[in-house]
């Protein structure tokens, strides 16, 4: 009881957040029911109950299961690649001594993040075409033209790399902010001990950055089933459905005839459950084996 008395202020601070979250996130949760109904907006929640048949329907759709694998594959590599590139850049940027230069570079790398995929995709299609700039450059180096967008094996990697390019600015910002939080005293004492910059980075910087990295990793896992609808939708085509069709693009095409609320809710629920398992699992592992608390 003494504890609570001491702590009441903390609980009080949490109250506003709890209220908002409860009202706007928990109350609408009843909408999950739509996944179990043949939903008609006109009937609302009096719509006929169909139990698991929506799930059966979507999973028995031709080629749906393959989209799950595609989504996973593309997401995982995007996450890993994205983190590596962002961290490397944050480190490189951190080494710049002039603050002004640092800021300029920082602004530039964040720019692709501001653009929407509709625009970027249009440019990508031009650049990556069989006779586009990239292939022309490759030709100069004596490499045969690569079908970045029409070859099933290469397509996912095109998606991964272009997405990393577009989004790494975001991670860089977070890591840079974390880097500024590292006590300069640590570097000074390391210097005194005779450690060169590279050793400093390995043993101090990366170590202290690790919690942030793990944090971003775990947060991304919650997103692993959203492999980037905007990007894929604007860049894919039937010839690469094999490896490029993800859950969201598939559901989108399915719903194009009429607003398929039931299907959307079903797939959404499926994604949520799996994401939950992933996040809980990784949090547990990170805690158990590395002692990191994310949540």
């Amino acid at each position: 009881m003494i504890k609570l008395k001491k702590q009441w202020r903390y609980h009080a601070m949490l109250l506003p957040g709890i209220i908002f979250t409860f009202v706007f996130c928990y109350i609408p949760l009843y909408g999950v029911i739509i996944a179990f109904q043949k939903y008609n907006p006109g009937l609302g929640f009096r719509s006929p109950w169909v139990g698991l048949s929506n799930f059966k329907f979507i999973f028995s759709q031709p080629n749906f299961v393959r989209t799950i694998w595609n989504t996973f594959y593309i997401s995982v590599f995007k996450i890993i690649g994205g983190i590596i590139v962002s961290v490397v850049f944050a480190l490189l940027l951190n080494e710049i001594s002039s603050n002004k230069t640092k800021r300029i570079f920082q602004t530039f790398v964040y720019i692709p993040n501001f653009l929407s995929w509709v625009i970027v995709a249009g440019i990508m299609i031009d650049i990556l075409a069989r006779d586009g700039i990239v292939n022309q450059a490759l030709g100069v180096l004596g490499i045969a033209p690569i079908s970045f967008l029409s070859n099933s094996t290469i397509f996912p990697w095109t998606m991964i790399i272009t997405d990393i390019w577009k989004g790494f600015g975001f991670g860089t910002v977070v890591y840079l902010a974390a880097l500024t939080g590292i006590d300069p005293v640590l570097y000074e004492s390391a210097m005194i001990d005779g450690a060169q910059r590279w050793k400093q980075i390995r043993y101090i910087t990366l170590l202290l950055l690790m919690p942030t990295i793990i944090l971003m990793l775990v947060l991304s896992l919650g997103n692993v089933f959203n492999a980037g609808f905007d990007q894929i939708y604007n860049l894919y085509s039937p010839i690469v459905y094999e490896t490029g069709d993800i859950i969201d693009t598939y559901v989108y095409r399915l719903g194009i005839e009429q607003a398929q609320y039931s299907v959307g809710a079903t797939v959404g629920l499926f994604k949520s459950v799996v994401s939950f398992v992933l996040i809980a699992g990784s949090n547990f592992l990170a805690n158990r084996f590395a002692g990191y608390r994310i949540f």
Binding site: G42, A129, Y241
Partner: protein, 548 residues
């Protein structure tokens, strides 16, 4: 919250193929159009209630509407969605005040949300699938009686032109919506467009067969470079040219054994695919077509890289025509030709169930007959030839203003056909007095002929040129060389639920065949996958609903 509805320009152009349809009248085919409309109230109803359908209300009546935002509307000074000439006329003529519940760029979502929150406007327009949901939910008014009593002769005559369309709004014998119809079938046939100056300078004759067409393509390639024919990842060109082999993809047809089957899996498709595969190998098709969209395909037109473009619905002139003329000059226009045959048999033009939606009245509407009155008025204004109305017509129908009354407008199913006849006559005689609302299109055509104004080339190539799209389409209609989609109505269950995924199987497979990743015989394996993935079920349903 996680789903965004991405509607892209490209998607729209693909599915609709731009323009072609003019919504400005021409006369209706029924002879009563010239008679003074005011007397029609006496002769109108079979139920012989002497109701004056044109009478205004004594007490003001308010109707709430929900409409889509439309970028084609240019409001004259002082007008906007809430205050405009249409709403003013409604008030003046009938004492009916229209109130906008919403003006949205995502109209269909708004309708769904309003359904869910039980806050539908009194009147709005929507598609067949939503109508079904509305009826099931008991949200719309049964207008059988009201329609009977209040609808004008004109409306009824238009609806009677194709009863199958009208019946799609009838559930359990009761009418729940008024079909909006369309501007007519003349707008549907596809064409092959060929570049005029190249063809003339090489002295080539009109293509009679597919081989002729390919010949032209090859000669163009030799002389001017580039590749021969464009294509998109959705097999747009393929779908347009397939009828040359008697194949009719994406519609339902009568098969050899008398039952109905899906056109895309019939044996004739194999020949079409084989031809395309050969063309791809020969370099006639764009090597990168598998990742191209419509805009990319049309780029080649605008750049002067190709000279042959299959295109739908007479719309080449509007897009990419305008850009082609702006970029390359008026000599570079493409002209329309019918699809040539590959096997000597007459090529038919596939024609789809044509209805642009339904006018729907909410159950909570206090004055449902008011809606019918407004529709009457709209049609009357659309079709009048009375010179006294000329100025009003101009105000009502120009600048895209009719889009404001999206909730209640209806089309005249023979408007475009008649318009083409009228305009052609006027071009010859120079007499424009009877053109009515077609006058502005006529002026556009003349403008192009005199000044080669790029923005007018659309109308010119649709109707004005000697080799205009409609000249070809009219002949097709007159000779009845059409093949109707047997699914002449709303999609059946499997098609509504999984139609797109079934098509995906085919598109993917066809593309692989065309680019050579699979042999032509792969087609047989494909149709087996299609069948077991739900195609068989879809076929059974179609036969049940639409079969004999």
């Amino acid at each position: 919250m996680k789903k965004k509805f991405m509607v892209l320009f490209i998607v729209c152009v693909m599915t609709i193929g731009v323009v072609a349809c003019s919504r400005n009248g021409g006369d209706s085919s029924s002879p009563s159009s010239d008679a003074s409309q005011k007397t029609s109230s006496v002769e109108s109803t079979a139920s012989s209630e002497l109701v004056d359908i044109w009478a205004p209300y004594n007490d003001a009546v308010t109707l709430t509407v929900g409409i889509p935002q439309n970028a084609g509307i240019t409001f004259p000074e002082g007008q906007d969605y809430d205050k405009n000439i249409w709403y003013t006329m409604f008030k003046d003529e009938f004492n009916i005040q229209l109130e906008n519940l919403w003006v949205s760029a995502n109209h269909s979502t708004q309708v769904n949300l309003a359904m869910a929150s039980d806050s539908l406007p009194d009147v709005f327009s929507t598609d067949g699938a939503t109508l079904e949901l509305l009826v099931a939910g008991g949200l719309v008014a049964d207008i059988t009686e009201i329609y009977d009593t209040y609808a004008s002769e004109q409306i009824k005559s238009f609806q009677e032109m194709d009863d199958t369309i009208f019946q799609t709004a009838v559930y359990d014998g009761k009418l729940y919506g008024i079909p909006k119809l369309s501007c007519g079938l003349i707008d549907q046939p596809n064409h092959v467009w060929i570049r005029k100056d190249w063809k003339e300078s090489l002295n080539l004759s009109d293509p009679e067969t597919i081989d002729d067409l390919i010949n032209i393509a090859k000669l163009f390639m030799e002389e001017y470079g580039g590749y021969g024919i464009g294509e998109t990842q959705d097999l747009y060109t393929f779908n347009i040219l397939a009828p040359a082999w008697g194949a009719y993809p994406k519609i339902w047809v009568e098969t050899a054994d008398g039952t109905l089957g899906y056109g895309s899996i019939q044996p004739e498709m194999k020949e079409a695919l084989a031809a395309f595969a050969q063309w791809y190998k020969d370099g006639i098709l764009d090597p990168d077509f598998a990742i191209s969209n419509m805009a990319k395909m049309f780029e080649a037109n605008i750049n002067g890289e190709i000279g042959i473009q299959p295109h739908g619905r007479g719309g080449w002139g509007y897009y990419p025509g305008v850009d082609v003329v702006s970029n390359l000059g008026e000599e570079a226009i493409f002209q329309a030709y019918g699809i040539p045959s590959a096997n000597g048999e007459t090529v038919k033009a596939p024609v789809n169930f044509a209805n642009n939606g339904y006018i729907v009245i909410s159950k909570n509407c206090k004055n449902p007959e008011a809606v019918i009155k407004l529709v009457n008025y709209y049609i009357k204004m659309l079709t009048t030839k009375d010179p006294a109305d000329a100025e009003l017509i101009l105000e009502l129908f120009s600048n895209g203003l009719p889009n404001i009354v999206h909730s209640i407008y209806m089309d005249n199913p023979v408007s475009d056909y008649n318009q083409y006849v009228d305009i052609s006559a006027a071009l010859e005689s120079g007499d424009t007095s009877t053109l009515g609302t077609s006058l502005s299109k006529y002026n556009d055509i003349v403008d192009y002929m005199t000044n080669a104004t790029p923005k007018a080339v659309g109308n010119y190539l649709q109707q004005g040129d000697l080799k205009s799209a409609y000249s070809v389409s009219k002949k097709i209609l007159d000779d009845n060389n059409i093949i109707k989609n047997e699914m002449w109505g709303l999609p059946t269950e499997t098609i509504a639920n999984s139609g797109s995924t079934l098509d995906d199987i085919l598109i993917q497979g066809f593309t692989q065949i065309i680019v050579g990743d699979q042999p032509v015989d792969y087609f047989d394996i494909l149709i087996e996958s299609w069948k077991s993935a739900g195609g068989d079920q879809a076929t059974a349903e179609i036969n049940e609903t639409y079969g004999n």
